[in-house]
């Protein structure tokens, strides 16, 4: 269906794709696997006509093509679901789907017949969407279905899915795989981009692995293992299991009692949360997203007012303290929303590294910043935390997600820590960075820091935590020892809020 031969694409300062070749056969799911920044998105953006290759050929159904814009690619039957949905929130589902390919009656839009076409597509592929709903009101999973229908509406038979599962909950991922199978069953061919190994093995027919812009291997899915794929991706042996010693918990450091917190809409999503995290242990909070995780973390760290209950740290009540006061107690926070709360995109790496300490004597005197001291400190942290950057004076938004996260972790983990609150520490990161950050968290625990870990990745919770609490509708549905926990037991607690396994 699709052949890419010897594609090269360079951006200022970096070769994103270097002599990349790939073939996609009719009816297959071809996984494109690679770390962040390996050049997966660049490659498919060229196939979809958003970028133009410097060298190389793209052939669709045996015919060489030169796309000027994505309209050309769409005309050739290529559809793409972007990692960040390309939807217009204030438009209805039908308007989003027909945009650029409008159904008309005379000079006017014919929304009635568009609706009928959408309904019949939805039925054929099992993608339930309501054509009259406003897209901004839909859940992420529903929005993704709209994106798929959008591509199918344009008669796409080559579908490019860029990290489609990154935004979905585990249950939605299973539904999504069902949809993908039904698509290939009806003759569609799919390029599936991901860096999650489990998914690759679950759906792929063939796999191409990219590293640093080059193809480092193409293989049939049979015979591949997580280990072999990970080694290919990273270029060295990857240790999956987190090695850690038995925890040696000390005195309680962080405690909440009957904590209640409201979300942005004023709805209480944390509804009486009690927890006690002791020094030298990692307490993992599992749960389906939207059960109050975000509000819980923000309230504990002073970023969101509480609606009731109390928070205590190191024996003092810290309810509704300011984030800086809490920070000065020795409580660090690695926030869930990296770009919104973690870094200041228009600052340099050095400035981002001292965001929590710029006012200290070491870095500023009489209101004037000591740039020499800041840069020296930054240089040290960049080396210590293996941040891949051209220099500490580069702007942070030039770094990949993984390296930005390392900067945040470097900043937060420096200093005399007593407790660490960390949310989704490895979301969107590649295996190499995940491994690194996990090791750092364990190191802290072994130094006697109390760690509260919130993550949507059950594997992460299970491998890092010493104790696991399941958050369900704003309260703890159960607490288990990580050593005894099973996926099934936790999954049941996450889904229903109760289980026989509660102890």
């Amino acid at each position: 269906m699709l052949e890419v031969e010897g594609i090269t694409k360079a951006f200022p300062g970096v070769v994103a794709n270097d002599d990349v070749s790939l073939t996609l056969n009719q009816g297959e799911i071809h996984c494109l696997l690679g770390e962040n920044g390996a050049g997966k998105s660049t490659l498919v953006n060229m196939v979809f006509g958003l970028y133009r290759p410097d060298q190389g050929i793209i052939k669709v159904r045996g015919e060489e093509v030169h796309f000027e814009d994505s309209g050309d690619a769409i005309d050739r039957g290529i559809g793409m679901v972007h990692q960040h949905f390309q939807l217009i929130p204030v438009f209805t589902v039908a308007e989003n789907i027909i945009l650029g390919n409008e159904v008309t009656k005379g000079a006017f839009l014919d929304l009635d017949s568009a609706r009928r076409q959408i309904d019949s597509l939805a039925e054929r592929y099992g993608l339930a969407v309501d054509p009259d709903a406003t897209v901004g009101d839909l859940s992420v999973g529903e929005q993704q279905r709209v994106e798929l229908v959008k591509a199918l509406f344009r008669d796409a038979d080559i579908l490019i899915l860029d990290e489609p599962t990154a935004v979905l909950t585990p249950g939605e991922v299973d539904d999504f795989f069902g949809v993908v199978e039904s698509l290939t069953g009806q003759g569609k061919s799919i390029i599936f981009i991901t860096h999650k190994l489990r998914e690759v093995l679950a759906v792929a027919d063939r796999i191409t692995v990219l590293r640093a812009g080059r193809v480092v291997g193409t293989a049939a899915a049979e015979g591949a293992t997580q280990q072999s794929l990970a080694n290919l991706m990273v270029g060295r042996d990857v240790v999956f299991r987190v090695d850690k010693a038995e925890a040696d918990p000390g005195a309680p450091v962080l405690r909440t009692q009957g904590l209640r917190v409201a979300d942005d809409r004023g709805v209480e999503t944390v509804t009486g949360f009690d927890v006690e995290v002791r020094a030298g242990e990692i307490f993992g909070i599992a749960g389906v997203e939207g059960n109050g995780q975000r509000e819980l973390v923000e309230a504990v760290c002073g970023m969101r007012p509480t609606a009731g209950g109390r928070v205590e740290m190191l024996g003092q009540e810290t309810t509704d303290w300011s984030p800086r006061k809490i920070n000065e107690l020795g409580v660090a926070h690695v926030p869930e929303n990296r770009s919104k709360h973690g870094v200041v995109a228009q600052y340099t790496i050095a400035d981002n590294l001292v965001l929590n300490r710029y006012h200290q004597r070491k870095f500023s005197q009489r209101g004037v910043r000591n740039t020499a001291a800041i840069n020296a400190e930054a240089q040290e942290l960049v080396e210590q935390f293996d941040v891949r950057t051209p220099g500490v004076d580069a702007f942070i938004d030039t770094l990949s997600g993984g390296n930005q996260q390392k900067v945040i972790v470097a900043r937060e983990l420096t200093g005399d820590l007593k407790a660490l609150v960390v949310a989704q520490p490895t979301r969107g990161l590649d295996v190499g960075s995940i491994e690194f950050i996990h090791r750092k968290i364990i190191e802290l625990r072994d130094r006697g820091v109390a760690v509260l870990l919130v993550s949507a990745e059950l594997d992460e919770i299970m491998s890092l935590s010493d104790r696991i609490g399941v958050l369900y509708r704003g309260r703890l549905a159960g607490t288990v020892n990580a050593a005894d926990a099973t996926r099934e037991e936790l999954g049941l607690l996450m889904a229903t809020g109760s289980s026989e396994g509660q102890r």
Binding site: N45, F48, L50, Y51, R52, D69, S70, G71, D72, I74, M80, H82, F85, Q86, L87, I88, P89, V90, F91, E95, I98, L99, G100, N101, E102, T104, A107, F108, L109, K150, D264, R265, G266
Partner: protein
């Protein structure tokens, strides 16, 4: 925006400021209501007044007793205030009550202005017609803004675009048509329209091609137009010696203008005035019912999404901004060849900025923008009418500047509470860079 979303928005805001919009509006109406009942109603003259529907002699009309009306409206305001703080089950009446109260401000202003003047009667049909006529450049200007902002370009250069249209059009008329010939008049109006398009094209090139900050680009347009037209007036128009001439002439709509009493007042008008309705209706149809309109709106909301669907964002933005400019040029022609037949420096007199306010007031929709323009047109017409009536408070004549400004202030304050939050197109003001 539906009422439900609206209420949610108000609650969200309340988390931060303490008092939400509903309570503030309620308080304002409460204070106004008490003032009307306790202060105004007893103070104003009890002699009966009359609203006429046609010019003298012997006009049809209705008589009324001012204090009764003031009391009725005061009670309505108080009710609205109470409903704002009522228990949740009664709250569903709060929104209609607020809207009704906001509307009641208009009769209130009319009743008060007549009660406080020595004149026993005034023609309100005529007042309504003046409002519509004065709304013409505002509605056209707001439509200009609508096309630009819906495609993602903020245009604060509407004022300058109108002014350029007014000046260049009249210059053409004065130099080649001696401001006398109807044939040249229409040609000159066309030149106004094209001049508007050209000025907007300048803004489009600045903001789309060169990515200049759109606010700065708009300011540049305003200053440029002011200088250019001033220069043209002193160097070209003044030298023709022509200070006035033949403008567009009134005609009545068939059938409608035959309606007794009101027909001749409401359904007679000049051509650009009638074209304003066509522009508003056409804008609504094209923007919300055609494929091209859908694409324009997508460029103002999420240009990158539009690009992935093969929409040429750059071309659409050029087209929309220039279309808007053509409309602003027509508004310019209204000033120099319809409302009056002459050109003066800065004759648009901030209408372009008021048009922007009407656009925001109308929440970036064609009908809302028209409603906003009508409201400001009414405020202006009433301000003028108040001067004629000579309003006095306890023997002291109120200065005319204050009377001109008063209706704007009152309507804005009250209606702001009833209209609520206005959300612009998401990508308005953001330069778009095509992927490479």
């Amino acid at each position: 925006m539906t009422t439900v979303e609206h209420a949610a928005g108000a609650t969200r805001a309340s988390g931060r400021v303490g008092l939400d919009r509903q309570s503030i509006t309620g308080l304002v109406f409460g204070v106004l209501g008490i003032a009307l009942l306790a202060g105004v109603a007893p103070a104003i003259s009890g002699t009966s007044r009359r609203f006429n529907f046609e010019p003298p002699p012997d006009p049809a009309g209705i008589g009324f007793h001012p204090p009764t009306w003031v009391i009725a409206i005061g009670v309505l305001f108080l009710l609205t205030a109470v409903l704002g703080f009522a228990p949740p089950e009664a709250r569903r009446w709060a929104t209609p009550a607020r809207l009704l109260s906001a509307l009641a401000v208009i009769p209130l202003l009319l009743v008060l202005s007549l009660a406080l003047s020595d004149n026993p009667s005034t023609n309100i049909v005529n007042l309504f017609n003046e409002s519509l006529v004065l709304a013409t450049p505002l509605a056209l200007g707001a439509t200009t803004g609508l096309w630009c902002e819906r495609s993602g370009i903020i245009n604060i250069g509407i004022e300058g675009t109108m002014l350029a249209g007014a000046g260049i059009g009249y210059m053409t008329y004065a130099t080649i048509g001696d401001a006398q010939s109807t044939g040249w008049l229409w040609f000159s109006i066309l030149i106004s329209v094209l001049a508007g398009g050209l000025v907007a094209a300048l803004l489009a090139v600045l903001s789309i091609r060169f990515g200049v900050n759109q606010i700065v680009g708009g300011v540049v347009i305003n200053l440029f137009a002011l200088g250019l037209t001033g220069f043209l007036r002193s160097e070209v128009i003044v030298k023709t010696g022509i200070t006035t001439g033949v403008g567009t002439s009134e005609f009545g709509l068939p059938l409608l203008s035959e309606i007794p009493v009101i027909g001749d007042q409401l359904f007679r008008g000049k051509p650009i005035y009638w074209m304003m309705y066509l522009v508003v209706i056409g804008t609504w149809l094209v923007m919300f019912r055609t494929p091209w309109g859908l694409r324009v709106r997508s460029c103002g909301e999420n240009p990158h999404a539009a690009e992935t669907l093969g929409v040429n964002v750059v071309r659409i933005r050029y087209q929309s901004v220039i279309l808007g400019g053509l409309i602003a040029g027509l508004a310019g022609a209204w000033f120099s060849m319809e409302s009056q037949t002459r050109f003066e420096d800065n004759m648009t007199n901030a209408a372009g900025f008021i048009a922007l306010a009407a656009l925001i007031f109308g929440k970036w929709t064609p009908w809302g923008a028209f409603g906003g323009a009508l409201l400001f047109g009414f405020s202006r017409a009433l301000g003028t009418r108040l001067q004629f009536l000579g309003v006095e408070v306890s023997g002291f004549e109120i200065p005319s500047e204050f009377l001109q400004a008063l209706p704007f202030i009152v309507t804005l304050v009250v209606v702001a509470g009833a209209v609520g939050r206005s959300i612009p197109p998401a990508a308005a003001g953001q330069p778009f860079q095509r992927s490479k």
